[in-house]
């Protein structure tokens, strides 16, 4: 049986919107790519760029950061700050040569179970096309 490579994608989901949206996708029994591993954060503004870099260094195939739509942030302005961090980080990583599409961002609200599943499917498709990461991954020898 041929085994195609299944990417492992880390999804940082903000507690109030995106995580709830993901939850809704689940309760609505919507099928979507099983490739994400979710980390719940209070707000998309919580994301320290070091999280994304550390994940990439550990060998993750892709990263998704998802938060509330602008104007809907539970903490009022967290996602605005997160947006600025995201844009600068994404552009910088792509400037260095890390493939475009390996780190992605989305706004998913608590009511958008459908959108969440679409986003995950899209991101998974993009990462599958890119293949496993070629650069930056650290392998610690143990023997």
């Amino acid at each position: 049986m041929e085994q195609t490579w299944e990417p492992k994608i880390l999804a940082f989901l903000c507690n109030w919107c995106s995580y709830a949206g993901a939850d809704l996708a689940g309760t609505s029994r919507i099928q979507y790519s099983p490739n994400i591993r979710v980390i719940r954060v209070p707000c998309s503004g919580r994301i320290n760029p070091l999280f994304i870099l550390k994940a990439l260094q550990n060998g993750i195939d892709g990263v998704l950061v998802s938060g509330c739509h602008p104007g809907d942030c539970h903490y009022l302005t967290g996602n605005y700050i997160g947006r600025r961090k995201s844009s600068t980080l994404k552009r910088f990583l792509e400037y260095l040569g890390l493939e475009e599409g390996r780190v992605q961002f989305s706004w998913v609200s608590a009511a958008e179970g459908g959108k969440f599943s679409q986003v995950v499917d899209e991101v998974t498709r993009d990462i599958k096309k890119l293949g496993p990461p070629k650069h930056f991954v650290k392998h610690v020898r143990s023997s």
């Binding site: 605005y80 600025r84 552009r91 930056f136 650290k138």
Partner: protein, 314 residues
């Protein structure tokens, strides 16, 4: 002559006790170098020099002396660093007296070294010429051919903020487009770009000269030293070297003034400014921000606009 005026101003400030000490440049112990000096009496003011080798960003010392009232000799880029540090509340507003010197652009000493065979024993500046004396050889170089690349692109050679100005203002006319190395780098393909970055960072010996020379790197616990969480190791694995350079550059987003102190400090001649130039380009394009120009403009990553660009977000 700027040097004479600088010494006079310093004498004045120190005799009137308007500052506790002045941070400036003194004669280096090697050709092509000037060295930071810290003077506290009017008599010491004669140690101050001003030449094309005053490359360090002295704002890096403000953290060490933030309990004193300090006079600091600044070029245009250094003055912007001081403004950026003031925004980050690194010292009280009246604590720093900026002795601004309009900059005639600094010389790339590493380039001069490479252009002359054998050891350089003495260097003299004469107008637009640099006269280099080696062992039994004298080479005359055109100053304009050996300017530090970032200095050529500089559009703030006159200190934007200054308490005192020493010397006449110079014309703000950049010799190249802004952020030239970033623009050059962007022309490469993604694979080429990563290969270049990997090659440059592979020489790194984690001495942190770049970090310590930078005025904006002042965290008591740097991310490299964090053990909980431990972001990265201190070994020379290629991945950790890349991690360090990516993050150190990224931490300068909206804070870097393109002074080049990091690159000039590196003993392994690692190219670094192409990294921070990209981030400076970004904050300009995305947020219309330039570090240290407007003392009231908040650092871009600490604020927001409701209509910030988000075309990259699904």
């Amino acid at each position: 002559m700027v040097q004479k005026k600088l010494r006079e101003k310093a004498k004045e400030l120190l005799s009137k006790k308007e500052v506790d000490l002045i941070i400036g440049f003194g004669e280096g112990t090697q050709p092509l170098r000037a060295t930071p000096i810290f003077i506290r009496t009017p008599e010491e003011a004669d140690r101050l020099v001003w030449n094309s080798f005053c490359e360090n960003n002295l704002a890096a010392y403000l953290h060490k002396f933030n309990r004193f009232k300090v006079g600091i000799v600044v070029k245009g880029c250094d003055a912007r660093s001081v403004t950026a540090l003031a925004l980050e509340k690194r010292f009280k507003p009246d604590q720093v007296v900026l002795i601004g010197v309009p900059c005639e652009r600094m010389i790339d000493r590493k380039k001069v070294k490479k252009a002359v065979k054998g050891e350089i024993l003495k260097v003299r500046e004469e107008g637009d010429k640099i006269i280099v004396l080696g062992e039994g050889v004298e080479v005359v170089l055109k100053r304009d051919d050996f300017l530090y690349p970032l200095c050529k692109a500089c559009t703030h050679r006159n200190p934007v903020q200054e308490t005192l100005l020493v010397g006449d203002r110079v014309e703000e006319a950049a010799l190249t487009e802004p952020n030239p190395e970033a623009k050059e780098f962007e022309k490469k393909s993604p694979e080429e770009r990563w290969a270049f970055f990997e090659k440059e960072s592979s020489r790194c010996i984690r001495c942190y000269a770049c970090r310590e020379a930078c005025p904006m790197c002042y965290c008591t616990e740097c991310f490299v030293d964090s053990s909980n969480p431990k972001w990265m190791e201190k070994s020379l694995s290629p991945s950790d070297l890349q991690f360090y350079h990516i993050v150190r550059a990224y931490h300068q987003t909206g804070r870097c003034t393109n002074c080049g102190a990091c690159e000039r400090a590196c003993p392994m001649d690692i190219r670094l400014t192409y990294l921070t130039q990209k981030l400076n380009q970004e904050v300009d394009e995305l947020f219309q921000f330039e570090t240290g120009v407007d003392p009231k403009a908040l650092p871009p990553l600490s604020t927001y606009k409701t209509d910030d660009r988000q075309e990259f977000i699904k």
